[in-house]
Symmetry: C2
Subunit: 466 residues, 2 copies
């Protein structure tokens, strides 16, 4: 290193071509990676400079972050979407990500919309369902506009049962649909007979069992359950093996106290026991409840939602109300099931990035080294991913600790200012859907939230506090 300070040595910051010019002529240059803040966007950079350390942003950001920390999501029950979701219509379908029209939707989301129409009985064939979806007679809206979140395509229809999670601290409620398992399932765009049959069974057989069991069990605190799962190798986005087991262990004895016929209970328990991802939707609803608690604090640069519709990636800030800040969704870098590859993949999709927004998922993957067998990379990458997220979060959530990092809290509360100041894009663990409707999941991997969402968000936040 002392070489650097001898006569003629050069340290080059930023553009590599300057250093190359030196080395190509026989000189020495030490390259330092650097890019200008705000992805080089001058206007956003100026806005960022105004917002960093600005008490009009600092204080509300901290306040909203405290609301996130203090939230106490509690599972209180199960009910039909049309009865539970605020503003849910009986001819409405919800989808993942920011708003999008039928014609613009990606293949798997269209596939899931078709499946939901068939499930509701609004059409009797996929062709009829497609025509209906494009007719404008079905209202389409983001889950997030109805206090809900759905993984992948995230389609929720009026008859579907939803989890009801309440924030015991603030009283807000959040919802998610039921997890159908892996492979050919609605959320990955599959809509064949077995998919609709499974949805029917979930609605008519599983949901009553869950409802009855939860009534006996009483409210289930989600944060301690997630915390325990984080000590057992889950990151509670793409790995929910422990959380699903922990929920199962509490649920099984309770449901045996209900009057539900034993054979029906057994069938439901077999389904839960066979689906290690069952807890994902509960994790998502819990995260949504935590972040909705933090939403709506004027001036706050805290990110309260990251969601993808398969075409566009959208974020929301606590301080900028209902606005979505969007950019093109990115591809997912991952591992594929046999017979599939990147050319088959849809773009990043789903509301499940609500977990990363809440500090788990990709942000907590240091605690889940085994997940790299599912999403790719190495256990060291997993630790690096978590550590790098500490640069863009407001703090660490000590209700959710990571044993592998000496029990430090998980990096939590994405600050849009820090994202732009560092150009570190939030990391997301996610499933990969086939780009065509009707096929299903083909892999899982890692992706990032596009910087341009944050560029727009910071400009808007800056304008709002002038």
């Amino acid at each position: 290193m002392s070489r650097l300070f001898s006569e003629g040595a050069i340290i080059n910051v930023g553009l590599v071509s300057f250093a190359e010019a030196v080395t190509q002529t026989g000189g020495e240059a030490q390259q330092v990676e650097w890019t200008p803040p705000a992805a080089g966007d001058r206007e956003a950079g100026l806005a960022l400079a105004r917002l960093i350390k600005n008490p009009l942003v600092e204080e509300p950001t901290q306040r909203s972050y405290q609301r996130y920390l203090q939230s106490q999501p509690v599972l209180v029950g199960v009910g039909p979407a049309v009865e539970e979701l605020p503003g849910m219509g009986d001819r409405m379908l919800l989808h993942a990500g920011p708003p999008i029209d039928w014609n613009d939707m990606c293949g798997p989301m269209q596939g899931a919309i078709v499946g939901a129409i068939l499930y509701e009985g609004w059409a009797t064939s996929p062709e009829e369902a497609r025509r209906l979806a494009g007719s404008g007679k079905i209202a389409l809206a983001p889950c997030h506009h109805h206090a809900a979140v759905g993984p992948m395509a995230g389609v929720i229809s009026p008859s579907m049962p939803v989890w009801i999670v309440e924030n015991a601290d603030g009283g807000n409620r959040a919802y998610s649909n039921m997890n159908e398992g892996l492979g050919k399932v609605l959320r990955f765009g599959a809509n064949g007979k077995e998919v609709i049959d499974c949805l029917n069974w979930i609605g008519t057989s599983l949901a009553p069992v869950l409802k009855a069991g939860l009534a006996k069990l009483g409210p289930v605190e989600m944060k301690p359950l997630i915390a325990q799962a984080l000590h057992m190798g889950d990151e509670c986005h793409n790995r929910n093996a422990a959380a699903s087991s922990l929920f199962f262990k509490r649920f099984a004895p309770a449901v045996l106290e209900t009057g539900v016929p034993q054979a029906q209970i057994r069938e439901s328990l077999l389904f839960l026991a066979g689906n290690d991802h069952f807890f994902l939707n509960l994790s998502m609803a819990a995260c949504k409840a935590m972040l909705d608690a933090a939403h709506g604090v004027r001036g706050s640069s805290l990110v309260t939602a990251m969601a993808r519709n398969g075409v566009r990636f959208g974020i929301r800030l606590s301080g900028t109300g209902d606005a979505w800040f969007e950019a093109d969704a990115l591809p997912v870098d991952g591992l594929y099931f046999p017979g599939y590859g990147p050319e088959d993949a849809a773009m990043d999709l789903g509301d499940s990035a609500i977990t990363e927004t809440a500090g788990i998922g990709g942000f907590a993957m240091a605690t889940a080294p085994a997940i790299v067998q599912f999403v790719g990379g190495t256990p060291d990458d997993a630790i690096i991913n978590t550590m790098s997220m500490t640069h863009i979060t407001v703090g660490r959530n000590y209700a959710l600790t990571l044993p592998a990092l000496s029990f430090s809290g998980t990096p939590a509360g994405i600050d849009a200012r820090r994202v732009l100041d560092t150009n570190i894009m939030p990391i997301i663990n996610t499933g990969i859907a086939h780009k065509q409707a009707g096929i299903g999941q083909i892999g899982a991997g890692i992706t990032r939230a596009p910087l341009n969402c944050f560029v727009q968000a910071i400009k808007t936040l800056s304008a709002s506090i002038e």
Copy 2:
């Protein structure tokens, strides 16, 4: 470091006093920690020199290690000890560790013997039970002499139900008793009314449920289940939260197919769900089955048992038959429950070190960073402990991988030669019992297998191959 090679610098290997003499006179000395092999025992050192790289030991050690690797422990059922255990008498009590007389037993083992006598109805008061135990009318024998293992005091009486684990590769069977939970339980020497009531309930209510459920479930392969738990933060000795949950998840739907009354099933599932250590005894029986498969190979220096009776620590080698090589049991360095401290603790106790002998427990603690909240130390210590064990094991078991160490196999198969060559004592995670009878568990921590066991074992092995 270049200082070392300049004139007058000294590297001192071994005894610190030589280096101190130099530094006290103003010189410089670099101290290298070293002790002679075989704990400095000349005779054992000479024996060791004969045995290292000796084909008469190398080949059988590898052969026995392969038998351990190839073993396939499968849970096949539950039955009463007196019917299942080979050689179990109807007036016999088994205990942990190497053989020991009643008068020499530590407090918690005497407490457990008294409890077992009360449970069997051979006496009606603790005083009467103590007299009976000391009268010679009750046969006392190590669990290990009857193909069984028991945690802590490890007392197994004729009526107690035992797990039956069969090695599908070799046909040998291994057994363990049922885990009662934490706190005031027989295995920690408690023997009050609630302890005996719990044992009665386990025998009359839980055991039939387990037996019926296992009959429906069919054989349960233990190694994949342990492997999955190792990916979920268990080391399957003092942390069995994941393994217990995984077993529960498979067992619950199966038991609902039996004709057992639903209320009895529910009560049993509640008990299982409430005991994160429930899987410990299954883990131990599985490890015993793996290691018995490797036992009895003439010339092998593979350790096939490490067990403690609370007074003496004993080991067995594959190549030295039924002989125990003993030394005084060591204290446990750990964390204590409120109100207790090291002065209250019994010495290291129990057959549960069979897990470390099989490469899990303390040997696998790198995969279980959360365990340090129970046994003490830091997550870094946990990694160091696993890494250091690689110096004394024959190899790594790639059926049991550790994600945090890039999915390397757990260090497995203790080679007594390597222990003596390095003086690295095998590490053991363990519970801590109160030293008095009748109290129970007061903490958990980490201890080591005494080197002197290995000194004797190597001398005997050396004599056996002359």
